[in-house]
């Protein structure tokens, strides 16, 4: 099972992004500065942005979805309970998971951005997909909710997850690191070998590696454990 960007070129006027690589099973983290083309690449991989050249190949992927940065775009249910049902999920259980107990009769689009994002991600990750593409899933969430999303990602219900983010504080365990650099998608490799080469790594990771620690993954707890091991 894989999603392959085959000599892809994405264009917006004079702006271009090149992407060539294979996203196999596991959790892939794609980072890059704001405006580098993360959303465009996410849309192209999801098949909703037409590449200027090249193509996307899917192997073994029948059910693919994309979580857009703005959760409002996905809403089809007038009330929260209708929205949950539109994802074919049980209302009470989903409300509990999203931390929205008792809000089933609230109007979906009157929820705050953070609440709506929580609801949307709970519904999206509550379904079974072959491949999930998440565009800035942590935007608008507090630390507790970011950790909950990370836990849902790490549960492994979806064989292939690609996360596009510039989050620097709370990240899930990942298998492969990618970066967008100078108009091209670059694979830094598998975790943990990719960590030293990751230019956009969070500060806690670079600090740990600078001190000689070797984190096993990219989470804060991995950096802390690596430092503890070193000083033990």
């Amino acid at each position: 099972m894989y999603l392959k960007a085959d000599r892809l070129t994405l264009s917006h006027g004079e702006w271009n992004l090149r992407a060539d690589g294979v996203f196999g099973q596991g959790v892939h983290l794609v980072t890059g500065p704001v405006g580098s083309g993360k959303t465009t690449l996410a849309s192209a991989l999801a098949g909703i942005f037409e590449p200027a050249s090249g193509r996307i190949n899917r192997d073994g992927i029948l059910h693919l979805t994309l979580s857009m940065q703005f959760p409002e775009y996905h809403v089809t249910g007038f009330l929260v309970k209708d929205e949950i049902r539109s994802w074919h999920l049980p209302v009470a259980e989903t409300l509990r998971q999203a931390g929205l107990d008792g809000r089933q009769n609230a109007k979906t689009l009157t929820l705050s951005r953070g609440e709506l994002k929580r609801l949307h991600l709970t519904c999206l990750l509550g379904n079974l997909w072959d491949a999930v593409i998440l565009d800035e899933p942590f935007a608008g969430l507090d630390c507790r909710e970011k950790k909950r999303v990370c836990a849902a990602i790490e549960e492994g219900n979806h064989p292939l997850i690609i996360i596009f983010t510039h989050e620097q504080a709370v990240l899930p365990a990942a298998d492969v690191i990618w970066e967008i650099e100078e108009g091209a998608l670059v694979c830094r490799g598998k975790v943990p070998e990719a960590i030293p080469a990751w230019k956009g790594a969070p500060r806690y990771l670079t600090r740990a590696t600078e001190e000689g620690a070797q984190p096993k993954n990219i989470r804060l707890q991995d950096a802390t454990e690596a430092l503890c091991r070193m000083h033990a």
Binding site: I48, Y73, H74
Partner: protein, 213 residues
Amino acid sequence: MQDARLRIGATLLLSCAAFSSVFGAVLVALWWGIIGRGERNLPGRHAAAVIFGAIILVAGFTEAFGGDGISYGFRMTVVTLIAFWAFGHGREGDLMNTAVWAFGDRIGFDLGLTAEMAVSSLRRIEKDIRDIKNALKLKGSRGPVHDLIPLGFALTIIQIHRAREQGIILATRGYRGGGTYLPTFRRSKTDNVAFFGSILIIVAVFVSFVGYL
């Protein structure tokens, strides 16, 4: 056409001329064909089908029920082509520049700011519609008619949220009405010719009316 004042002026004159008579619409169509060449900014196939389809539909009904539908259809088509030409080549700040130049720092500033915010919203709505349609497709679209309800609802709420955020930002920055703004304009060699052409057309239409009377 680079100069926003001339483009807005020409748009007003040409729209009036095109709508007032078939003769005016023919002249404006010629202007559009010659002077608007290379700046036509025609919409995509789907948008064109919807917009011109609506015009043809109304024209057809008018013609069928005894009105002059063919004339209406032709005149509205030309007005729409002029609107595409005018809207497509507008740059951010054009309306602000023109409003402040015409009406000053107080009323002009407020009018320009309102117009700029409206145009900016229109441009963002285009992207919102595209994104919402894509999101609905990914979620499992139940057909274009069924999707209209969530699309319209989400679009309305998003616009209300944005308007409130913009209002808060303006209030936070101390906006109470009016402001200081120095309008700037660029002008290309063909601007004067194009604008002069639109004056000639409106004069010709006026003379034709006088002759008719």
